[in-house]
Symmetry: C2
Subunit: 283 residues, 2 copies
Amino acid sequence: MKTYLDCIPCFIRQTLDAVRVVTDEFAVQETMLRDVLRLTSEMDLSQSPPRIGQLIHRRLRELTGNKDPYAEVKKRFNTMALEMLPELRSRIKAAEDPFTAAVRLAITGNIIDFGPKSNVTEKDALDAIETALSDPLYGDAAAFREMVENASSILYIGDNAGEIMFDRLLIEQLPLKRVTFAVRGAPVINDAVYEDAEQAGLTHLVDVIDSGSDAPGTLLEDCSEEFIRNFRAADIIIAKGQGNFETLSESDGNMVFLFKAKCPVIASHAGTKLGAQVLWHKK
Amino acid sequence: MKTYLDCIPCFIRQTLDAVRVVTDEFAVQETMLRDVLRLTSEMDLSQSPPRIGQLIHRRLRELTGNKDPYAEVKKRFNTMALEMLPELRSRIKAAEDPFTAAVRLAITGNIIDFGPKSNVTEKDALDAIETALSDPLYGDAAAFREMVENASSILYIGDNAGEIMFDRLLIEQLPLKRVTFAVRGAPVINDAVYEDAEQAGLTHLVDVIDSGSDAPGTLLEDCSEEFIRNFRAADIIIAKGQGNFETLSESDGNMVFLFKAKCPVIASHAGTKLGAQVLWHKK
């Protein structure tokens, strides 16, 4: 997906939100904002929004000297989500259609995203879970289930820390031996990296690889050979979150995108409503 | 008032909104946005927000070749407000305290502002009027009345077209012979210029001058000698709207600012709540 003009004011606001999460120093906040204004004034709009997100967050880490500014946030949401696992598992077990319930909860976990909104709270996540099983799901969960049952290899590309506990619930419904889970190659925003997959217990459950990239999405030209090999070989790719949708929605491959449509541009690109739970199949 | 970091994402969003009001051409929208990103990346934050507003809207007029992009919007809101005058006048007459009612309505007129929000509708204005007389007023209207009664000269600095019909209602409560009304020196956003004062019938009622400047506020260093003479000589200056508040709140003079606090930065600077009707006296 290209970058729309509407994305630009949002980048600037996100930059200010993000630098304030990391530092109280006004001079650093000002420099960061000026740098991103200059960067976006020259940006290539044919690139997808996570490309500029990657550049913004590289600059943030460089300016603040903090290699993982969201480390604390990631731990907090991993712990919160981990504590919720038994309760969520019993909800899935009690559901009429456990697979679809797991899909819905995996999508709901996508609320834990500090890209668009820097002040996601535990309450936001809990509120989202309460409506996840009753809110409409935009997409065909039955067809999705059939696809995964018949797939000989599944690449599941995760999105955020905390959220990956919810992904685990869906992964538990998949043929485990045929699943590879992918995280980002380096810290960016609150996106999940290898340590988060370990904390989620995913490394004991399935093969875990990383993208080799610090983009908050999957910029294929930026990914490692190992990742690309897995990507090309997979029968089906399950891609979580807006960042993966923005970067992969026009790439080749049998892909199912699972995400909450948290911004009007993406909702419109996906043909759904703002806030929708989306299962978007692209052949 | 200086420019806060929070103002910057807002400038970028306002730029996109404004250029879309003026043209559907994507290339012009993109150029405009890139120019303002570059401009703000280098801006002097010690200047007040209307200074960057002035530069943004100069560039908008230059790029689109349209000297008065909001001409249509201004006419529309002038006409709407003009049609409402008899009804509003009878509300003021029926009020227990007609002066305070006129103050409240003058503040309410400040909703007709295409600076912060490009999609103000007639319905927004009508809804605002419905609550204007009952919503709390932050400030001392009685003290304000005493001041204007004792003033030998009053400079009333207007803000937007449409809104100046509401200003007329308050001006009708003032000692007319001692009032000078000021408009902007040239079109900028939907700010009132001389023609709007004529359409509001103000030129028949009081002396009308202009600021000599195309800033959406009152940048004294940018104003004409005539304006400055009037500004310095006035016993009391009534300054309408956020733009005048932002540019004059730290200047010398006995000033009363009347405005709706439409943005969190200004509400915080004025020590009021977002959306408040503010009468702010600065000696």
